[in-house]
Amino acid sequence: MLDLHKIIDQIGSMSTKRIEGYKEIRKRLSLAQKLLSDESFSFDILALKRERAKTSWLVAEPTEGFKTYTLPRLPAVFQVLAVDGSQIVPDHHEIALCYLINIGSVLLTYGKRLPPVMESHPTLFYSDEDLYFEYQGQKMLIQGELFALKRAIAEANRLSKLVREIDETYPAISLCDGTLIQWNLESRGSQRESWKDNLLDTFLGSLEECRLANTPVAGYISGSRSTDVVNLLRLGLCPEFTPNCDKCHYGINPPCKEIEGNTDVLLFKNLQLGERTSVFFSKSKVLEKYGEHKIGFFYLNVGTEIVRVEAPAWVLGQEKSLNLLHSIMFDQAQKGFGYPVVLSEAHELAVIKGTDRQLFFDILTQHYVQKGIPAELSSKSLSKRRPMV
């Protein structure tokens, strides 16, 4: 049981520390924002420096100078598709080892009275191939980041199925909640690699389906803490023509530190309502495998916040699809009072509440009992359900 009295002092210290850091970042922010409009800050030099630099941090690849774009017109009729997923994770202490992924999907048509399509698709996974992977000769249960990946793939799969069903008469976009950069597939050197490669291939296959269906796909990131563009400015501040952070000779206070600590969202907080930034590309290592689906992004002021919108190069490289994405993203956030309607409805369809989880295991138990399969809850699980006094 958490004794809140014992933690209050620690919360006090934490908030004091945070406010000091926040003030410091605020000072650095105005400098960073000045750099955005500094004409002496040449785009060409910045781009060249970025190419030559050796940094440990992710640096955005600019496609042009720092520009902003006003909101394009919405098409008269358009469709928006979204998917979101939720799960019951495998639990050793439950009656049987299995997991469930529930994908919610929503297709809404605007400007024309067509019925919304709102569905949820739960899938139960229980085979050894789904539950385990080999790691250093041992069978390991799928958990944590690998499980998150499995879910992301299930979402992308559903999306690629649905884009084929969209009526091609109207322009459409498809949306995922969160990033399209599967950065947790980056780590190398383990036997999980082939397993990861398979997952990535499936994910990229889904993006390809969207491309073939001519439906721009995007990831919507609310509350982004990315620093790719801030990092690009930091390179600009480095007096070296070939910045090399490993061999930095500016000591503990290098020039780039002047704007460190800011996020891209803070940097672009002066965007006007509906405005977006120019397009940048991410330099995540995993994107080397993405080919023409290489992910880029822009920031957009939707009113309640500055959001990061990610999309593959084939979407961002075409003015038509880029404008479609820009206008629909903004409109969706307006209609959803700050967050895209399609995504919040997809979430509602996907979400598995505590009571649903309990019911799922109750039904599972019932089936096990009916079929005479021996099944036991672990002592730990039982003790959690019936705590003693």
């Binding site: 809404l108 709102m118 309607v341 409805e345």
Partner: protein
Amino acid sequence: MNHIGEVLVTSTTQFTAQAVSLNSSPAFGSFVKTKSSEITSFGVVYNIYTGSIDGNRKPMAFGKGEEELFKEQPQLANLLKTEFSVLLIGHQKEKYLGFLPDGPPRIHSFVQVCSDAEVVEITEDLRYLQTLINANIGNQNHLISSSIRAGLKASNNSKEFLIKTGKYVLPLLKYDMDNFNNIFRSVR
């Protein structure tokens, strides 16, 4: 005939059904039926309700006209539902019987609107009026008027139907003429 609703809550004396689409409930006071195995149960719609499909999500005011609102927020069509409640008045195995069946209609059975011929058969029996008068609901007189109106329409505005119904209702109301007039004023 196409169904207009599906039974969600059911009991010996009444059931509640969800309308197939939003705002498409059968009329208040109209006659409906639902078939479970061999028995068809008949009833009168006494309440219609439209609200959120999810108890945790409350509808909110958007400040827009209906047409514009559904264009801008198309998902609402799937997040709202119309339900209607029905008082059971009789059932049919081979012929119509003006008293309750042995058991309630089954949950998830389909609800249909009664044909004119069925309404004529039910209203000839007259016992449904006793069920409506004795029912413990807030809008009895309106419900009785509406159901008599539905019967009158099915009988092609027959004067005999009205006289016969009036004669049956008056003693049930303990000869309370105020109440009687109140009901029949809304019938015409």
